[in-house]
């Protein structure tokens, strides 16, 4: 699926103060029965967000909300940047997790670390996962929760920096290939198919070396 180019962008931060948030928590399994890629936003963090049990296909607008869950705090209603703790997105490889985050409206994810498969899936869906030092993440949590106003962050993907409401510029580090894909919004199947000759040459060579894989 081709993805849209990622532009420089400004958004409000939602602080989700939990480590090891797994993809079962991001989108519980009953919603994996869908055969579509869209419509998962209302069920993002379903078990933390609502007080009842969610079922696929249900209208979520009348469900009882969990007032203690940060996503339901009106202060963060317009957030598009998710700030969280280490190992975000661990567990199941379900791409429904980034689909749900994107469908809800998140564009940027900030954490001290992300699980590998989730990180890859996020990029494929035009989400920008940013890894920052634990100390900087701590500081951002403080800024995001201290004031009554949500914290706003500017992400400059050309210059690889972010700015937290005038609290200083932070450099960000992104894999150059991912960076390239994000700013150009490439369709990576299309990109790979431009190397069809290389693939065919590899197959021809490999067929000699390991014929049992082609039998």
């Amino acid at each position: 699926m081709p993805i849209k180019p990622f532009e420089n962008f400004r958004g409000a931060v939602l602080p989700l103060d939990r480590a090891n948030v797994d993809t079962d928590a991001i989108i519980p399994k009953q919603f994996l029965k869908s055969i579509k890629r869209t419509g998962f936003g209302p069920n993002l963090f379903d078990e933390w967000r609502y007080l009842d049990r969610g079922e696929p296909g249900q209208d979520c607008s009348n469900r009882p909300l969990n007032p203690d869950f940060v996503l339901n705090d009106p202060k963060y209603a317009d957030a598009t940047i998710l700030l969280t703790r280490h190992n975000f997105g661990c567990g199941s490889s379900r791409e429904h997790a980034p689909w749900a985050l994107a469908d809800y409206g998140f564009k940027v994810l900030i954490a001290p670390s992300f699980a590998d498969i989730f990180h890859q899936n996020a990029i494929k869906n035009g989400l920008l996962p940013i890894v920052l030092d634990e100390a900087i993440v701590d500081r951002l949590f403080q800024l995001a929760t201290d004031s009554d106003e949500p914290l706003t962050i500017d992400v400059d993907l050309q210059n690889l920096t972010l700015d937290a409401d005038g609290h200083g510029t932070i450099e960000i580090d992104i894999d150059p290939f991912h960076h390239h894909c994000l700013i150009h919004g490439l369709d990576d199947i299309g990109l790979t198919l431009t190397h069809a000759d290389d693939i065919a040459a590899y197959e021809a060579r490999r067929q000699n070396e390991a014929p049992w894989l082609f039998a």
Binding site: M1, D17, R18, A19, N20, D22, D24, A25, P28, K29, Q30, L32, K33, S34, I35, K36, R37, E47, R53, P56, G57, R85, H86, N87, C90, G91, S92, S93, R94, E95, P98, S113, A115, D116, I117, Q120, N121, K124, N125, D175, P176, F177, H180, D188, I189, T192, L193, H195, D198, I199, Y202, E203, R206, E209, A210, P211, W212, L213, A215
Partner: protein, 470 residues
């Protein structure tokens, strides 16, 4: 002298099609397993772009996550699950991909049937839209889970864009004690390095205790590499690996097999090969493990007690412990052996193979499930595991003891079908994830080995399986 290489280096080098200026490689993928949950959107993507699978014969599909484990002949009653399974069947027909459907006796959990059929082979690259694809690393294959976009990418191009991971050696040295199993090894490793310990790495498992494991045991260890944060786990190839593969229906046969085996024998890390990180674990020190929390790293030996968050210095970690204890309904200081259980689940891609069922049956033989246990179920990993177990009379041992004997599938490992925990119910489970809600909303999961799960069913609480029927 060529530089010594790790097994990971060797498989990687064998599969690089090209590497670009950013250091990203196009990696050739030899085999892909497909199931109903993570594939519909990938096939839809192909259809929308007018693309076809490059080598349809390199994919094998099976429904497993959604299938019922009772009354198969009635079909799937949940209409949404049924649509997903039917979509898989229709997609396989349209794109020419081999499918084991629900009525096929070879049907089962993707990670059980791949090795069983000889679809999984040593030295290959293999992916599946499922994180426990790491299981197949037991064969010295580079196998890892991918998302749906990548499932589509592999279908269309037979390749993936990858950067090489770092390498970690986990060496389990010495001999395991009696009653201690592959599951206890991997839980102990996760307890040691943490659920993010392997992030960005491929883990190779070595040492005498790993060498001594059967192929089933090696699969159990590699299976949970993902719970240690690693995308893939690997074990070097030896005669055990080759013997397991020989004669399997989809494996090479005759002359071609011997040629392949010759190559496979070269797939071990060279002496002196370097790893980015090395961890040593003393096998003799590993005791039967039980998880107490909501992350696989929250694990202790069965003779331990529920930890106290007040004694944890790191505030983020203490916070997770508090959350976990609240969710699990546990009080600090409670001995794990005093926790009463409601349900027991034996199965999954971690522990649903024949050897696992034998180990559990050994404990259950001639005994009864405790009255306090509402449900104890055994779900074989595949139709062929079920058939083998029945030929050995294991089903009778289980049913006479009061266990339910079910049809193969993922079942209560993730509770996408009708098998699930009710809120507050506590389960001893041989699966791999104890996340909140994993086995049903509000359900509480404790991960253990098959023998430990069977013993827990008999006693209604955890017991040290080493003290059972000796």
């Amino acid at each position: 002298m060529p530089t010594p290489r790790t097994l990971y280096d060797k498989i990687w080098d064998d599969h690089v099609v090209r590497t670009d200026e950013h250091g990203t490689s196009l990696l050739y993928i030899d085999r892909q397993l497909v199931h109903e949950v993570t594939s519909p959107q990938a096939f839809e993507g192909l259809r929308l772009a007018g693309r076809k699978p490059r080598r349809p014969e390199t994919h094998l599909a099976v429904p497993d996550h959604n299938v019922p484990t009772t009354d198969r002949h009635l079909g799937i009653t949940d209409p949404i699950s049924r649509i997903q399974v039917e979509a898989l069947e229709a997609n396989c027909r349209e794109f020419g991909i081999q499918l084991f459907d629900m009525a096929d006796k070879r049907q089962g959990i993707v990670h059980v049937i791949g090795p069983e059929e000889g679809f999984t082979l040593p030295g290959i690259t293999m992916v599946c839209g499922d994180s426990h694809t790491s299981t197949h690393g037991a064969f010295g294959a580079l196998a890892f889970g991918v998302g749906t976009s990548e499932v589509e990418h592999v279908l269309a191009t037979q390749c993936l864009l990858q950067r090489k991971s770092k390498s970690m050696l986990v060496s389990v040295d010495g001999e395991l004690g009696r009653g201690v199993t592959a599951k206890d090894i991997v839980l102990a490793i996760i307890g040691e390095i943490g659920t993010a310990g392997g992030t960005g790495h491929v883990i190779e498992y070595g040492g005498d205790a790993i060498r001594a494991l059967s192929m089933e045991g090696r699969m159990t260890v590699c299976n949970m590499s993902i719970e240690a944060g690693a995308r893939a786990g690997l074990i070097g190839i030896d005669e055990k690996t080759i013997d397991y593969v020989r004669g399997r229906p989809m494996a090479p046969q005759g002359e071609l097999f011997e040629q392949a085996a010759e190559h496979w024998r070269s797939l071990n890390s060279d002496p002196g090969a370097e790893y980015d990180r090395v961890v040593h674990i003393d096998a003799a020190s590993i005791r039967p493990q039980v998880t107490w929390g909501t992350s696989p790293e929250m694990v202790l030996p069965v003779d331990g007690s529920v930890p106290d968050p007040a004694e944890i210095a790191d505030p983020v970690k203490a916070g997770s412990y508090r959350h976990a204890l609240a969710y699990m309904g546990l009080t600090p200081g409670t001995p794990l052996a005093e926790i009463p259980l409601d349900k027991v689940f034996i199965g999954s891609c971690t522990n649903g193979r024949i050897e696992d069922l034998r180990a559990a049956a050994e404990v259950a033989r001639g005994r009864k499930v405790a009255d306090s246990i509402k449900l104890a179920m055994v779900v074989p990993g595949s139709g062929l595991v079920k058939e083998q177990a029945e030929a050995e009379g294991l089903d009778r041992i289980f049913t006479e003891a009061g266990f339910e004997w079910r049809e193969p599938g993922c079942s209560m490992c993730l509770a996408m079908n009708a098998d699930r925990l009710e809120p507050g119910e506590r389960c001893a489970s041989t699966s791999n994830r104890n996340f909140e809600g994993r086995q049903g909303q509000g359900g509480r999961t404790h991960l253990v080995s098959p023998a430990m799960a069977a013993a827990a069913a008999i006693h209604g609480r955890f017991v040290d399986v080493r003290e059972e029927g000796a």
